[in-house]
């Protein structure tokens, strides 16, 4: 399925992670909880026991933020028997909220998601929780909150371009060094 944005030749923005900048401070997760709380504040969200929908796992000493990638043809959407999990045809965001069919808490989406990015709502509520892309915000709360710029809400092709350029410089540097060694 192609989204209108893509048809018009405009790239889609997504939350991208610069792993080397992540300090594991969990501010992203707290800001996410705040954005999804009644109070809208971090302390309020802690009081309301609202969980963050971006999860940070420790791979040894390296903290790794994990959040929904909003895949096309998403396994969670396909797995959802009730039709609560849907991808918005315009924004491309995958969510189980705000649709006519309500989430029944069957956890099929949790089983299907290869990233483990969907979790159970707290206090035993039968409701799956996941990143909803912070609908209504220009930039997702997690990205705004990250003190180190480890999260970026960017056009994915720009991110890839930046990576390519970095690699290109590394390769060029290696080649220059090698040829000097060879020449010398």
């Amino acid at each position: 399925m192609c989204r209108p944005g893509k048809l018009e030749g405009v790239d889609v923005k997504a939350v991208m992670v610069y792993l080397d900048r992540c300090y594991g401070c969990l501010t992203c997760s707290l800001a996410c909880a705040a954005a999804h709380s009644a109070s809208g504040t971090i302390t309020g969200a802690m009081r309301e026991r609202v969980p963050g929908r971006i999860l940070v796992e420790a791979a040894g000493k390296q903290p790794v933020p994990i959040l929904c990638r909003h895949c096309d043809d998403a396994p969670c959407v396909n797995a959802c028997m009730i039709g609560a999990m849907q991808q918005d045809p315009v924004t491309g965001l995958v969510s189980n909220e705000g649709h006519t069919q309500a989430c029944a808490g069957c956890w099929m989406c949790i089983m299907a998601c290869p990233y483990g990015a969907i979790v159970q709502a707290p206090r035993g509520e039968r409701m799956a929780l996941k990143c909803d892309g912070c609908r209504g915000r220009e930039t997702p709360a997690c990205v705004m909150a990250c003190p180190n710029g480890a999260l970026a809400y960017v056009e994915v092709d720009d991110f890839a371009g930046e990576r390519r350029l970095k690699l290109a410089f590394c390769l060029a540097e290696d080649m220059t060094r090698d040829s000097r060694a060879y020449g010398g």
Binding site: R21, C22, Y23, G24, C25, L26, V56, E57, A58, K61, P63, P147, N148, G149
Partner: protein, 618 residues
């Protein structure tokens, strides 16, 4: 629940069998994501403009504080808090001494110190009161007045160096007080001055918090004597009423030890259905009790384990009363005490537990106080044993060598350190490593780094002296029995076998880090060199808390290399890291070495020792 990660296989086996019990071992994985700002020491929450963090985008807090300022402030606050802890301990010990009547089991030491401190003639009671008074007087001096006993206790060459550097401390409590003032909001922003303040706090910690506490406890409870003991959970005998002690203040237990031994006490226990009372050692105070009862244990059952074994110890159900007086009284013991119906008594409110009865130590009437503890143990025993069946695993070792102190070691060596010096000079022992401080769970697992590093060191013929939770851990891992010599390098193994000693010498609690300093000073004195010249390196591989940092500050003032298995939250500042790990060596001779791998740490410590040997021409 996740599995236990400890070098102690028996402990893990027990915890895995008791999967229904939650301890720190289960909570570790939930805290695996560490905040990088905290790790680097670059988070400041001193004012309402904050919390501020030094990030890749922002090099200063709102007030203008740089990473250097924030790191130095945080570090100074931590060292001050650690110093405060040890100073609290020596203050209480001095007050106990002041209020204790004869006889003093360590009367010889009292006379010796009275001589050194210039305390005139008089009866022992008078001498003890005056000595305690002199200690307290120093602690309470204003910051502008130098403490008097520093010069009388410090290694003379060190004292001179400290004087030259201007780091001789004023009144210890005032030094802590002003460290807090200095590191407050918009006060000092001079990282170098704050690090110098850390050294002053280190000296106050070492001379007063460590050495003088040891001396006072030796007077009150007798000096250490070498013997062999049983260690581990198997010291708990369910036939007795078992009182588990947690803390660092043996002085507060002398009266209780005496009371529990009386025939009346034994009779009371018998009427309740037990064979008598036993004190079960846990954390550093257990190590202190072990140190002074290696020959004659009396009511002391033995040392069960270090800080993070205290929760599992409660889960054995064999403990009838918990008495807390200092750290490491983990908050986690509260729920375990409720679950296993163990009554808790807190005798010093610095270690108050939510559900503990506060029964403050009575300096004036320690006997009546001991009676109250005994009654609490009796009532707890009677209530709980109907419902809880003790489940004590086979755990620990027999024949562990304990009771090693600066004097008992010297006596063992034949009255002088010369045999040890000869072994070092001759190369049979390459050098000395002090593996000291705490245990933690995060640096590779409970006692894991400590064990791996110790093994690496003894394999290289470096003898290990240990004090603190490291020694409790190493004892429970069988490293302090003479048979552990098999794990040492060929030369050290031969020395150990000939002398019948283990390659790891257990000096007891973290307070005994002060004893290691005394041993080092005696050796340096005999060689007519200064401490930094000795083939000696320290490591606090699994340092846990602020007290360890205050100990570390003492080591730096003494001019020693101190290895840490994880950074003391300073890496966010190049300046502070540079001073502590490099530049300080030119001032005091000491420096910090952070190595997160045991082999690398052992390599660095060994090369330090070899360098010192070379300079000494041995």
């Amino acid at each position: 629940m996740s599995l236990c990660v400890s070098a102690d296989a028996g402990l893990c086996k027990f915890l895995n069998r008791r999967g229904d019990v939650e301890t720190s071992f289960n909570r570790l994985s939930g805290q695996a994501v560490k905040c990088g700002f905290g790790l680097q020491g670059i988070c400041c929450r001193l004012c309402s403009n904050g919390p501020c963090r030094i990030t890749l985008k922002t090099s200063r807090g709102v007030c203008g504080a740089t990473a250097d300022v924030i790191v130095a402030r945080n570090f100074l606050r931590a060292v001050a808090a650690g110093a405060a802890c040890y100073l609290h301990v020596v203050e209480n010990a001095a007050n106990v001494l002041k209020n204790t009547d004869l006889p003093y089991p360590g009367e010889g030491l009292l006379d010796e110190l009275a001589g050194r401190f210039g305390i005139g003639a008089g009866g022992s009671k008078e001498k003890a009161a005056q000595l305690a008074g002199r200690v307290l007087e120093d602690l309470y001096r204003p910051r502008g007045e130098r403490m008097e006993l520093v010069e009388r206790l410090a290694f003379p060459r060190r004292f001179k160096r400290w004087e030259e550097l201007g780091i001789l401390p004023g009144g210890a409590k005032a030094e802590v007080f002003d460290a807090l003032v200095k590191s407050g909001t918009n006060l000092s922003s001079d990282p170098v001055d704050m690090l110098l303040h850390c050294l002053r706090l280190g000296i106050a910690t070492g001379i007063y918090g460590l050495t003088l506490t040891n001396h006072i406890n030796d007077i009150l409870a007798g000096e250490p004597e070498i013997g062999t003991v049983r260690v581990g959970f198997s010291v708990v005998d369910p036939g007795y009423i078992n009182i588990m002690v947690i803390g660092h203040q043996q002085a507060l237990f002398s009266a209780l030890q005496r009371e529990l031994e009386t025939p009346e006490a034994v009779e009371k226990a018998r009427q309740a259905g037990a064979k008598g009372f036993r004190i079960v050692g846990s954390t550093c105070v257990g190590q202190d009790l072990e140190l002074r009862s290696a020959r004659e244990h009396g009511v002391f059952a033995g040392h069960a384990g270090n800080n993070f074994t205290s929760e599992p110890l409660l889960a054995t159900g064999g403990i009838d009363l918990v008495v807390t007086e200092f750290n490491c009284a983990l908050p986690g013991i509260e729920d375990l005490c409720e679950r296993f119906r163990v009554r808790q008594v807190c005798i010093d409110d610095v270690a108050k537990k939510r559900n503990a009865e506060h029964l403050p130590y009575d300096f004036g009437d320690s006997r009546a106080f001991a009676g109250k503890i005994m009654d609490a143990a009796l009532s707890s025993y009677a209530g709980r044993r109907k419902e809880i069946a003790p489940d004590i695993p086979e755990h620990g070792f027999d024949g562990a060598v304990a009771g090693i102190g600066e004097k008992s070691l010297k006596k063992f060596l034949g009255g002088s350190y010369k045999p040890l010096i000869d072994l070092i000079a001759g190369g049979q022992i390459k050098g000395i490593a002090g593996v000291v401080g705490c245990s933690n769970l995060a640096t590779r697992g409970h006692d894991v780094f400590t064990l791996e590093l110790t093994r690496e060191l003894i394999r290289r013929d470096i003898i290990v002296l240990t004090a603190g939770c490291t020694s409790g851990g190493l004892a429970n891992l069988g490293m302090t029995v003479p048979e552990a010599a098999e794990q040492a390098g060929e030369k050290l193994k031969e020395v150990c076998k000939k002398m019948g000693i283990p390659p790891v010498l257990n000096f007891g609690p973290c307070l005994a880090i002060g004893r290691l300093e005394t041993v080092a000073a005696e050796i340096a004195g005999m060689l007519n060199v200064d401490l930094p010249q000795l083939p000696l390196a320290l490591s606090a591989p699994q340092w846990l808390e602020e007290q360890a940092l205050a100990d570390g500050a003492f080591a730096l003032a003494l001019g020693l290399l101190i290895h840490l298995g994880s950074s003391p939250f300073i890496e966010g500042s190049e300046l502070v890291t540079g001073i502590l790990t490099r530049d300080l060596e030119e001032m005091t001779g000491g420096r910090v070495l952070v190595a997160e791998d045991p082999t690398q740490a052992a390599d660095a410590m060994e090369s330090h020792i070899l360098k010192k040997r070379e300079k000494l021409g041995i």
